[in-house]
Protein backbone atom coordinates (compact mmCIF):
# COMPACT_ATOMS: atom_id res chain seq x y z
CA UNK A 1 0.00 0.00 0.00
CA UNK A 2 2.83 2.34 0.82
CA UNK A 3 4.18 1.63 -2.67
CA UNK A 4 1.23 3.49 -4.21
CA UNK A 5 1.79 7.26 -4.23
CA UNK A 6 -0.71 9.39 -2.36
CA UNK A 7 -1.68 11.10 -5.64
CA UNK A 8 -3.14 7.83 -6.91
CA UNK A 9 -5.22 7.42 -3.78
CA UNK A 10 -6.53 10.97 -4.07
CA UNK A 11 -7.48 10.39 -7.71
CA UNK A 12 -9.22 7.07 -6.99
CA UNK A 13 -11.11 8.51 -4.01
CA UNK A 14 -12.18 11.47 -6.16
CA UNK A 15 -13.40 9.05 -8.82
CA UNK A 16 -15.38 7.10 -6.22
CA UNK A 17 -17.17 10.15 -4.75
CA UNK A 18 -17.88 11.39 -8.28
CA UNK A 19 -19.48 8.09 -9.23
CA UNK A 20 -21.55 8.16 -6.05
CA UNK A 21 -22.98 11.57 -7.05
CA UNK A 22 -23.81 10.13 -10.49
CA UNK A 23 -25.94 7.25 -9.22
CA UNK A 24 -26.91 8.67 -5.80
CA UNK A 25 -29.85 10.77 -6.98
CA UNK A 26 -31.35 7.79 -8.76
CA UNK A 27 -30.88 5.46 -5.79
CA UNK A 28 -32.55 7.98 -3.47
CA UNK A 29 -35.50 8.66 -5.77
CA UNK A 30 -36.18 5.04 -6.76
CA UNK A 31 -37.41 4.48 -3.20
CA UNK A 32 -40.50 6.54 -3.98
CA UNK A 33 -43.16 4.93 -6.16
CA UNK A 34 -44.88 8.08 -7.38
CA UNK A 35 -43.19 11.43 -7.59
CA UNK A 36 -45.05 14.25 -5.78
CA UNK A 37 -45.85 17.22 -8.07
CA UNK A 38 -43.54 19.63 -6.28
CA UNK A 39 -40.63 17.21 -6.41
CA UNK A 40 -41.42 16.82 -10.10
CA UNK A 41 -41.41 20.61 -10.56
CA UNK A 42 -38.08 20.77 -8.74
CA UNK A 43 -36.52 18.07 -10.93
CA UNK A 44 -37.79 19.75 -14.10
CA UNK A 45 -36.06 22.95 -13.04
CA UNK A 46 -32.70 21.26 -12.40
CA UNK A 47 -31.00 21.48 -15.81
CA UNK A 48 -31.78 25.14 -16.54
CA UNK A 49 -30.95 26.12 -12.94
CA UNK A 50 -27.60 24.31 -12.86
CA UNK A 51 -26.55 25.47 -16.31
CA UNK A 52 -27.49 29.09 -15.51
CA UNK A 53 -25.09 29.02 -12.54
CA UNK A 54 -22.26 28.15 -14.92
CA UNK A 55 -23.12 31.10 -17.21
CA UNK A 56 -24.11 34.06 -15.00
CA UNK A 57 -20.85 34.37 -13.03
CA UNK A 58 -18.90 34.00 -16.30
CA UNK A 59 -20.80 37.04 -17.60
CA UNK A 60 -20.36 39.10 -14.44
CA UNK A 61 -16.85 38.32 -13.16
CA UNK A 62 -14.86 38.39 -16.39
CA UNK A 63 -14.05 41.41 -18.52
CA UNK A 64 -16.10 43.57 -20.88
CA UNK A 65 -15.37 41.32 -23.86
CA UNK A 66 -16.82 38.29 -22.08
CA UNK A 67 -19.92 40.17 -20.86
CA UNK A 68 -20.59 41.60 -24.32
CA UNK A 69 -20.15 38.21 -25.95
CA UNK A 70 -22.62 36.49 -23.66
CA UNK A 71 -25.13 39.36 -23.98
CA UNK A 72 -24.95 39.14 -27.78
CA UNK A 73 -25.26 35.33 -27.65
CA UNK A 74 -28.32 35.66 -25.40
CA UNK A 75 -30.05 37.90 -27.94
CA UNK A 76 -29.17 35.91 -31.07
CA UNK A 77 -29.57 32.56 -29.32
CA UNK A 78 -33.30 33.23 -29.00
CA UNK A 79 -33.54 33.46 -32.79
CA UNK A 80 -31.03 31.12 -34.43
CA UNK A 81 -29.96 27.50 -33.88
CA UNK A 82 -27.52 26.84 -31.10
CA UNK A 83 -24.49 25.74 -33.11
CA UNK A 84 -24.71 28.94 -35.23
CA UNK A 85 -24.90 30.98 -32.05
CA UNK A 86 -21.91 29.05 -30.69
CA UNK A 87 -19.83 29.79 -33.79
CA UNK A 88 -20.72 33.49 -33.74
CA UNK A 89 -19.99 33.67 -30.02
CA UNK A 90 -16.56 32.09 -30.55
CA UNK A 91 -15.73 34.60 -33.30
CA UNK A 92 -16.97 37.46 -31.10
CA UNK A 93 -14.86 36.59 -28.06
CA UNK A 94 -11.72 36.26 -30.18
CA UNK A 95 -12.41 39.56 -32.00
CA UNK A 96 -13.34 41.53 -28.87
CA UNK A 97 -10.29 40.29 -26.97
CA UNK A 98 -8.03 41.06 -29.91
CA UNK A 99 -9.47 44.58 -30.08
CA UNK A 100 -8.32 45.08 -26.50
CA UNK A 101 -11.75 45.78 -24.98
Amino acid sequence: MSAVPVNIWIILASALVTYLTRCGGYLLLSRFRRIPPRVDAALNAVPAAVLATLVAPAAVFNGTAEALTLAACLVIGLRIPMMAMFAIGWALIVALRASGI
Binding site: I10, T18, Y26, A42, V46, L51, A52, P57, L70
Partner: protein
Protein backbone atom coordinates in the same frame (compact mmCIF):
# COMPACT_ATOMS: atom_id res chain seq x y z
CA UNK B 1 -43.09 11.54 -32.61
CA UNK B 2 -42.64 8.90 -29.94
CA UNK B 3 -41.40 5.62 -31.30
CA UNK B 4 -42.82 2.40 -29.98
CA UNK B 5 -40.30 -0.03 -28.56
CA UNK B 6 -40.17 -2.36 -31.53
CA UNK B 7 -39.30 0.53 -33.82
CA UNK B 8 -36.07 1.21 -31.98
CA UNK B 9 -33.16 -0.09 -33.99
CA UNK B 10 -29.98 -0.33 -31.94
CA UNK B 11 -27.71 0.42 -34.88
CA UNK B 12 -29.43 3.65 -35.86
CA UNK B 13 -29.70 4.61 -32.19
CA UNK B 14 -25.95 4.09 -31.87
CA UNK B 15 -25.25 6.13 -34.98
CA UNK B 16 -27.51 8.91 -33.78
CA UNK B 17 -25.70 8.91 -30.43
CA UNK B 18 -22.29 9.18 -32.10
CA UNK B 19 -23.58 12.06 -34.21
CA UNK B 20 -24.89 13.81 -31.10
CA UNK B 21 -21.46 13.45 -29.49
CA UNK B 22 -19.57 15.38 -32.19
CA UNK B 23 -20.24 18.97 -31.05
CA UNK B 24 -19.36 17.96 -27.48
CA UNK B 25 -16.14 16.26 -28.58
CA UNK B 26 -15.18 19.50 -30.35
CA UNK B 27 -16.24 21.81 -27.51
CA UNK B 28 -14.54 19.70 -24.83
CA UNK B 29 -11.25 19.21 -26.70
CA UNK B 30 -9.56 22.42 -25.53
CA UNK B 31 -10.46 21.62 -21.94
CA UNK B 32 -9.24 18.05 -22.18
CA UNK B 33 -5.91 19.28 -23.53
CA UNK B 34 -5.74 22.13 -21.03
CA UNK B 35 -6.38 19.71 -18.19
CA UNK B 36 -3.48 17.49 -19.23
CA UNK B 37 -1.16 20.48 -19.54
CA UNK B 38 -2.15 22.00 -16.19
CA UNK B 39 -2.01 18.64 -14.41
CA UNK B 40 1.64 18.16 -15.34
CA UNK B 41 2.25 21.80 -14.42
CA UNK B 42 0.88 21.04 -10.94
CA UNK B 43 3.10 18.06 -10.32
CA UNK B 44 1.10 15.09 -11.60
CA UNK B 45 2.82 12.57 -13.85
CA UNK B 46 1.50 12.00 -17.36
CA UNK B 47 0.08 8.67 -16.19
CA UNK B 48 -1.69 10.27 -13.24
CA UNK B 49 -3.24 12.94 -15.47
CA UNK B 50 -4.58 10.24 -17.80
CA UNK B 51 -5.80 8.17 -14.84
CA UNK B 52 -7.69 11.16 -13.48
CA UNK B 53 -9.44 11.89 -16.77
CA UNK B 54 -10.31 8.20 -17.16
CA UNK B 55 -11.69 7.66 -13.67
CA UNK B 56 -13.10 11.00 -12.47
CA UNK B 57 -14.25 12.15 -15.93
CA UNK B 58 -15.63 15.53 -14.84
CA UNK B 59 -13.80 18.51 -16.29
CA UNK B 60 -14.49 21.31 -13.83
CA UNK B 61 -13.79 19.16 -10.77
CA UNK B 62 -10.58 17.83 -12.33
CA UNK B 63 -9.40 21.41 -12.80
CA UNK B 64 -10.22 22.22 -9.17
CA UNK B 65 -8.49 19.02 -8.08
CA UNK B 66 -5.21 19.71 -9.84
CA UNK B 67 -5.22 23.30 -8.64
CA UNK B 68 -5.22 21.90 -5.10
CA UNK B 69 -2.60 19.25 -5.92
CA UNK B 70 -0.29 22.16 -6.66
CA UNK B 71 -0.74 23.60 -3.16
CA UNK B 72 -0.12 21.93 0.19
CA UNK B 73 -3.74 20.98 0.83
CA UNK B 74 -4.72 17.90 2.86
CA UNK B 75 -5.73 14.94 0.64
CA UNK B 76 -9.23 14.63 2.13
CA UNK B 77 -9.88 18.30 1.33
CA UNK B 78 -9.02 17.72 -2.33
CA UNK B 79 -11.43 14.78 -2.46
CA UNK B 80 -14.10 16.85 -0.71
CA UNK B 81 -13.70 19.73 -3.18
CA UNK B 82 -14.13 17.33 -6.09
CA UNK B 83 -17.26 16.02 -4.38
CA UNK B 84 -18.61 19.56 -3.89
CA UNK B 85 -18.09 20.51 -7.53
CA UNK B 86 -19.69 17.27 -8.67
CA UNK B 87 -22.59 17.36 -6.25
CA UNK B 88 -24.87 18.63 -9.03
CA UNK B 89 -24.75 15.12 -10.55
CA UNK B 90 -27.03 13.92 -7.75
CA UNK B 91 -29.69 16.15 -9.29
CA UNK B 92 -28.92 14.78 -12.77
CA UNK B 93 -29.27 11.13 -11.83
CA UNK B 94 -32.43 11.89 -9.87
CA UNK B 95 -33.98 13.69 -12.86
CA UNK B 96 -32.79 11.28 -15.55
CA UNK B 97 -33.05 7.98 -13.71
CA UNK B 98 -36.83 7.86 -14.07
CA UNK B 99 -36.46 8.21 -17.87
CA UNK B 100 -34.03 5.32 -18.18
CA UNK B 101 -36.62 2.59 -17.77
CA UNK B 102 -35.51 0.87 -20.98
CA UNK B 103 -31.99 0.43 -19.66
CA UNK B 104 -31.80 -2.55 -17.29
CA UNK B 105 -30.09 -2.63 -13.87
CA UNK B 106 -26.36 -3.17 -14.24
CA UNK B 107 -26.25 -1.31 -17.55
CA UNK B 108 -27.82 1.65 -15.80
CA UNK B 109 -24.96 1.48 -13.30
CA UNK B 110 -22.53 1.64 -16.25
CA UNK B 111 -24.45 4.49 -17.89
CA UNK B 112 -24.35 6.60 -14.73
CA UNK B 113 -20.54 6.63 -14.86
CA UNK B 114 -20.78 8.65 -18.10
CA UNK B 115 -23.38 11.15 -16.84
CA UNK B 116 -21.50 14.40 -17.49
CA UNK B 117 -23.23 17.79 -17.99
CA UNK B 118 -23.65 17.66 -21.79
CA UNK B 119 -24.64 13.99 -21.69
CA UNK B 120 -27.35 14.85 -19.18
CA UNK B 121 -28.58 17.83 -21.20
CA UNK B 122 -28.67 15.80 -24.41
CA UNK B 123 -30.46 12.88 -22.75
CA UNK B 124 -33.07 15.23 -21.26
CA UNK B 125 -33.56 16.91 -24.62
CA UNK B 126 -33.87 13.57 -26.43
CA UNK B 127 -36.39 12.25 -23.97
CA UNK B 128 -38.33 15.55 -24.16
CA UNK B 129 -38.69 15.06 -27.92
CA UNK B 130 -40.40 11.75 -27.26
CA UNK B 131 -37.50 9.37 -27.92
CA UNK B 132 -37.11 6.70 -25.25
CA UNK B 133 -33.56 6.55 -23.88
CA UNK B 134 -31.73 3.47 -25.09
CA UNK B 135 -28.37 2.11 -24.03
CA UNK B 136 -27.26 2.18 -27.70
CA UNK B 137 -27.91 5.91 -28.03
CA UNK B 138 -26.52 6.66 -24.58
CA UNK B 139 -23.22 4.84 -25.12
CA UNK B 140 -23.02 5.98 -28.73
CA UNK B 141 -22.88 9.49 -27.39
CA UNK B 142 -20.83 8.76 -24.26
CA UNK B 143 -17.95 6.67 -25.62
CA UNK B 144 -16.54 9.10 -28.23
CA UNK B 145 -16.60 11.93 -25.67
CA UNK B 146 -14.96 9.69 -23.06
CA UNK B 147 -12.25 8.26 -25.31
CA UNK B 148 -11.32 11.67 -26.72
CA UNK B 149 -11.26 13.07 -23.18
CA UNK B 150 -8.66 10.48 -22.15
CA UNK B 151 -6.66 10.97 -25.34
CA UNK B 152 -6.64 14.73 -24.80
CA UNK B 153 -5.37 14.40 -21.22
CA UNK B 154 -2.46 12.36 -22.58
CA UNK B 155 -1.72 14.72 -25.47
CA UNK B 156 -2.13 17.79 -23.28
CA UNK B 157 0.23 16.36 -20.68
CA UNK B 158 2.82 15.53 -23.36
CA UNK B 159 2.58 18.78 -25.29
CA UNK B 160 1.34 21.14 -22.61
CA UNK B 161 3.39 24.01 -23.87
CA UNK B 162 1.59 24.06 -27.22
CA UNK B 163 -1.44 25.79 -25.72
CA UNK B 164 0.35 28.18 -23.45
CA UNK B 165 -2.10 30.95 -24.33
CA UNK B 166 -5.63 29.56 -24.68
CA UNK B 167 -7.15 33.02 -24.03
CA UNK B 168 -5.99 34.37 -27.39
CA UNK B 169 -8.15 31.79 -29.15
CA UNK B 170 -11.04 32.26 -26.77
CA UNK B 171 -10.80 28.57 -25.82
CA UNK B 172 -11.21 29.20 -22.11
CA UNK B 173 -14.59 30.85 -22.75
CA UNK B 174 -16.20 28.30 -25.06
CA UNK B 175 -17.93 26.33 -22.32
CA UNK B 176 -19.74 29.44 -21.03
CA UNK B 177 -21.14 30.11 -24.50
CA UNK B 178 -22.06 26.46 -24.88
CA UNK B 179 -23.85 26.34 -21.51
CA UNK B 180 -25.74 29.53 -22.38
CA UNK B 181 -27.05 27.81 -25.52
CA UNK B 182 -28.23 24.88 -23.41
CA UNK B 183 -30.02 27.18 -20.96
CA UNK B 184 -31.88 28.82 -23.86
CA UNK B 185 -32.80 25.40 -25.21
CA UNK B 186 -34.85 24.69 -22.09
CA UNK B 187 -36.98 27.81 -22.44
CA UNK B 188 -40.11 25.77 -23.26
CA UNK B 189 -40.21 24.39 -19.72
CA UNK B 190 -42.57 25.53 -16.96
CA UNK B 191 -41.27 28.47 -14.90
CA UNK B 192 -38.16 28.74 -17.08
CA UNK B 193 -37.62 32.49 -16.71
CA UNK B 194 -38.04 32.76 -12.91
CA UNK B 195 -35.91 29.64 -12.40
CA UNK B 196 -33.10 30.94 -14.61
CA UNK B 197 -33.22 34.41 -13.06
CA UNK B 198 -33.12 33.03 -9.51
CA UNK B 199 -30.28 30.65 -10.34
CA UNK B 200 -28.32 33.43 -12.07
CA UNK B 201 -28.70 35.93 -9.24
CA UNK B 202 -28.09 33.21 -6.67
CA UNK B 203 -24.93 31.97 -8.35
CA UNK B 204 -23.50 35.47 -8.79
CA UNK B 205 -24.21 36.23 -5.12
CA UNK B 206 -22.72 32.92 -3.95
CA UNK B 207 -19.68 33.39 -6.20
CA UNK B 208 -19.11 36.80 -4.64
CA UNK B 209 -19.84 36.01 -0.98
CA UNK B 210 -18.97 32.32 -0.63
CA UNK B 211 -16.72 31.62 -3.60
CA UNK B 212 -16.30 28.99 -6.27
CA UNK B 213 -17.30 26.14 -6.55
CA UNK B 214 -20.21 26.67 -4.15
CA UNK B 215 -21.93 29.05 -6.57
CA UNK B 216 -23.06 26.04 -8.61
CA UNK B 217 -24.87 24.17 -5.83
CA UNK B 218 -26.17 27.30 -4.07
CA UNK B 219 -27.31 29.03 -7.28
CA UNK B 220 -29.04 25.87 -8.50
CA UNK B 221 -30.80 25.52 -5.16
CA UNK B 222 -32.12 29.09 -5.51
CA UNK B 223 -33.54 28.28 -8.95
CA UNK B 224 -35.02 24.97 -7.81
CA UNK B 225 -36.56 26.61 -4.72
CA UNK B 226 -38.39 29.05 -7.01
CA UNK B 227 -39.75 26.14 -9.05
CA UNK B 228 -40.97 24.43 -5.88
CA UNK B 229 -42.87 27.44 -4.51
CA UNK B 230 -44.45 28.41 -7.85
CA UNK B 231 -48.05 27.21 -8.17
CA UNK B 232 -48.18 23.76 -9.72
CA UNK B 233 -50.11 23.82 -12.96
CA UNK B 234 -51.31 20.66 -14.64
CA UNK B 235 -48.82 21.12 -17.47
CA UNK B 236 -50.52 20.45 -20.84
CA UNK B 237 -47.33 19.06 -22.45
CA UNK B 238 -46.83 22.17 -24.54
CA UNK B 239 -46.11 21.57 -28.19
CA UNK B 240 -43.11 23.87 -28.24
CA UNK B 241 -40.17 21.54 -28.56
CA UNK B 242 -36.92 22.41 -26.86
CA UNK B 243 -34.50 23.38 -29.51
CA UNK B 244 -31.37 21.63 -28.37
CA UNK B 245 -29.24 20.22 -31.14
CA UNK B 246 -27.16 17.98 -28.94
Amino acid sequence: MPLSDNEIRPRSELRRGVRDSLPIVAAAAPFGLLFGALAVDNGLSVGEAVLMSATVYAGASQMVGIELFGSEVAPWLIVFSVFAVNFRHVLYSAALGRKMGLIPGWRKAVAFFFLIDPQFAAAEARSEKGHPLTMAWFMGMALPIYLFWILEAWLGALFGSLIANPEIYGLDFLLAIYFLGLVLGFRGRANWLPVVLAASVGSVGAYFFVGSPWHVSLGALAGIAVAVVMPVRPEPESGEAENIPV
